[in-house]
């Protein structure tokens, strides 16, 4: 078999003694062939990134190291190579694309120089040849105005452009293998679609093998030739993409595929005469930043421009938009974490905008929030019971009663009631998000604002949390404002969708209608960018 580029044989990566399992990678055997994209897919903690790092000798030594197996590349075992030999292979024969392009680039160096540096170290090209090659690479990754681009600093480029620069660097020496570790996870969905397209195009043109590490089955469906599914450091299933995605064999793969949020719109199930709970009228919010110590030019960002919104009792609305669209600002204004410049926010006919924090306090119990990051949203030094009981206690409930209620709520969100006496670090991400939901429900609010509540969670956990939110909404008679960047998630949770772009709501309506006939061009581009759209639709 001469077409095998990289062959991993029974690779074992040991974790330090104090971690909860012995091996990050426990005996993985994989082959990557020429001209193919192999996707390693798995949830957090599956060992997929550690495996990528082991190939390039980038494991965080001395605590984590490869203790067994072989990684054969071009006739040599990468685990046996000296540091100098490894350095020649890194960047030269095997290149890496990282998740966060901003940290992968040197912020103090022009991007042209950074690409040129790779050529300078590894080749004997003349300066003129190098410059020619850099421009060629910039054109290859479809960056506009190559001449201007090479003279820019990383911070002057957008996230997508930065990732293109990183890809250009990876391609500079025509490597035999590119390892891409979640290269599109930090990007917006439309940018993600472009980058995936680019990687595929370049891979075809250059005949490079790509090891693509991801957690997203949509991305897998979009790009993979072959797929390996990892769990707890072991490969549970591998095979051609069509087979693994179309007819998964392992139970774990089946469960993961079933958890992928579908593109089936949720139907409107409420009566039209329910009264309005939340009304936002002509809301405006502009951020001003003065540059420099002495004033100078003022930069204005219109986070919300004349927003009008209505949410009926016991209904749910998804605000969908990419980063910088103003959706989070709008949510923060409604929750009272941010003051508005002009416009009106009313809950149940009572004005809540334009009030001071002290004046807002009586209204706090009507609107509660579920936060994005389950690791940052719970105070690590407080017991879960105290975290949940805080709201009720501030509203005059006695501590005993508040803790008793917290126990009931924990039971409702699917945790053991005795969790009240434990600290947040004892729980997993999904469990913490359940605690966050219990906290929001503790004051019996009318409206819950959920800001990307599942975007930090693994796909199988994501599904459970969404189902929980759905059930609780019904049993508590809640309204929900759900903020997300993911149309798939929006479709499963909300009957109504509002699409935001650059501080404006460009389209709004029932989920089913928008899914059937998206009218605004931006909405259409969002739909087209959903990774693995065809495959997801085929799931039914």
């Amino acid at each position: 078999m001469t077409d095998i580029v990289l062959s991993i044989d029974d690779l074992k990566v040991a974790l330090p003694a104090w971690s909860d399992r012995r091996f990050a990678v426990g005996g993985v055997t994989l082959d990557i062939r020429q001209k193919e994209i192999l996707c390693i897919v798995g949830e957090s903690g599956s060992g997929k990134s550690m495996m990528g790092k082991a190939i390039l000798g980038l494991l965080p030594a001395p605590h984590v190291r490869a203790v067994g197996g072989k990684i054969m590349f071009e006739g040599r075992d990468l685990l046996e190579l000296s540091d100098d030999d490894m350095r020649a292979i890194r960047g030269g024969r095997i290149a890496m694309i990282f998740q966060e392009p901003m940290t992968a680039l040197n912020p103090l160096m022009k991007v042209g120089q950074q690409i040129e540096e790779v050529l300078e170290i590894h080749t004997r090209m003349s300066p003129a040849q190098r410059r020619e090659r850099v421009l060629e690479l910039i054109r290859d990754v479809h960056l506009p105005e190559p001449e201007r681009m090479i003279a820019s600093y990383p911070h002057q480029l957008s996230g997508g452009q930065r990732q293109r620069v990183v890809i250009a660097m990876a391609l500079a020496l025509e490597p035999a293998l590119i390892i891409a570790d979640e290269p599109t996870t930090a990007l917006d969905v439309t940018t993600q679609a472009q980058i995936l397209h680019l990687i595929k195009e370049l891979q075809r043109a250059h005949g490079t093998a790509v090891l693509f590490i991801t957690h997203d089955f949509g991305v897998v469906a979009e790009i993979a030739d072959r797929v390996a599914v990892m769990r707890h450091g072991e490969v549970v299933e591998q095979g051609p993409a069509t087979q693994v995605l179309g007819a998964p064999q392992a139970d774990y793969t089946k469960a993961l595929v079933a958890a992928v949020p579908g593109l089936k719109p949720r139907l409107k199930e409420l009566d039209a005469d329910a009264n309005v709970l939340l009304r936002v009228t002509n809301l405006q919010k502009t951020y001003r930043t003065s540059s420099g110590l002495f004033g100078g030019t003022v930069r204005e960002v219109h986070a919300a421009k004349m927003i009008n919104l209505e949410l009926k009792r016991e209904s749910s609305l998804a605000l969908v938009g990419e980063s910088g669209s103003g959706k989070s600002t709008l949510a923060r204004c409604i929750i009272g974490l941010e003051s508005v410049d002009s416009g009106l926010i009313e809950i149940d006919g009572e004005r809540i905008s334009g009030r001071t924090r002290a004046e807002l306090r009586p209204f706090r119990k009507h609107v509660q929030m579920v936060f994005q990051d389950p690791y940052a949203s719970l105070n690590p030094r407080q017991r879960v019971g105290d975290i949940i009981a805080l709201g009720p206690m501030l509203n005059g409930v006695s501590r005993e009663q508040a803790i008793a209620e917290a126990r009931e709520l924990l039971h409702l969100v699917g945790l053991k009631p005795d969790a009240v006496d434990r600290y947040p670090h004892e729980f997993s991400g999904g469990q913490r998000q359940r605690i966050g939901i219990a906290r929001a429900l503790a004051v019996k609010p009318k409206l819950i604002v959920a800001d990307e509540p599942v975007s930090a969670l693994d796909v199988s956990v994501q599904k459970q949390v969404l189902e929980l939110l759905n059930d609780l909404r019904k049993s508590f008679g809640l309204s929900m404002l759900f903020i997300t960047h993911d149309l798939r998630v929006a479709a499963t949770v909300c009957e109504e969708i509002a699409i935001m772009q650059r501080g404006e709501i460009v389209e709004r309506g029932a989920t089913a209608e928008i899914f059937a006939t998206p009218s605004h061009p931006y909405t259409r581009s969002l739909f087209e960018a959903v990774p693995g759209r065809e495959w997801i639709s085929s799931l039914g």
Partner: protein
């Protein structure tokens, strides 16, 4: 917390530091039992070398050096610990308020802090003692006054990062007041660096106290290590032990505190320890 203790006590340097500090604390507490006579009392002939009737010899007036060392540990530790406590309390207050409220309040408080930082701290302490007159309490005040600014800066930095975390926003959304949020949500999460800085500050305080006593600006009628060095320095050639014995005591104590402080740092910031 289990991990913290195993990391903290699993460090051999921490053991050495803790053993010395424990011993010192024991001596300081039971000073009156170990050396019942007044350390200022003249008990024998002057300049008796160590190893005779008195283990560590006597000084130029015939006072027992060992008794001085024992009683000195009490004064030195008490002054250093009290000064550190005051400095930590004041510095934490200034830093927390500046970091939490930001804007104009932050600007004013930080310029105020910088004002104290720009004055050379030891000279400042001398000036303060000169104005306030030397006494144990004034030593504490002077040392605290020159040592709080670093604490304020550390706390401010920590508060700035903690207050942007989502659980603080959750407390705002729940309707908790500013003071309660600062005390119950933010400050408990700034403890780790505060404990480390504070523990190292005790070592600095001991050095400042000794230096002030050496210059004769220490508390009169209070036997301290710095005072012993100051009194013995003119006889260094004739009686080396007068300076050497308390000098080694200061050295070992400051070293022990630094070892424990470093150990705390490694245990509380495991990421730093790995680098």
């Amino acid at each position: 917390m289990k991990k913290f203790w195993s990391r903290f006590l699993g460090n051999p340097r921490v053991y050495l530091g803790l053993i010395w500090l424990g011993l010192l604390l024991l001596v300081a507490i039971s000073a009156n039992v170990l050396a019942p006579t007044d350390p200022f009392a003249i008990v024998g002939k002057p300049m008796a070398p160590p190893g005779g009737e008195f283990w560590l010899g006597t000084d130029s007036l015939g006072r027992n050096v060992l008794a001085g060392l024992i009683h000195g540990s009490r004064a030195t530790i008490l002054i250093a610990v009290l000064a550190t406590l005051f400095a930590v309390a004041f510095g934490t207050f200034i830093g927390a308020v500046a970091g939490y409220y930001g804007g104009l309040i932050d600007n004013v408080l930080m310029r105020f802090t910088e004002f104290f930082q720009t004055i050379p701290s030891f000279l400042f302490a001398i000036v303060l003692i000169a104005i306030l007159s030397p006494s144990a309490l004034n030593l504490v005040v002077a040392i605290a006054t020159v040592s709080w600014p670093p604490i304020a800066r550390v706390v401010r930095g920590e508060v700035l990062t903690v207050k942007s975390r989502e659980f603080v926003q959750a407390a705002v959304v729940a309707g908790q007041g500013d003071a309660a949020i600062l005390l119950k949500q933010v400050l408990p999460n700034t403890l780790s660096p505060l404990i480390v800085t504070g523990s190292l500050l005790i070592a600095t305080a001991i050095l400042v106290e000794s230096a002030l006593s050496f210059l004769g600006l220490g508390a009169p009628n209070l036997m301290s290590w710095g005072f012993m060095i100051g009194a013995g320095r003119s006889f260094m050639r004739e009686a080396w032990w007068l300076v050497t014995v308390p000098g080694i005591a200061i050295l070992l104590t400051v070293l022990a505190i630094n070892l424990v402080g470093e150990g705390l740092n490694d245990a509380l910031n495991p990421r730093l320890a790995d680098l």
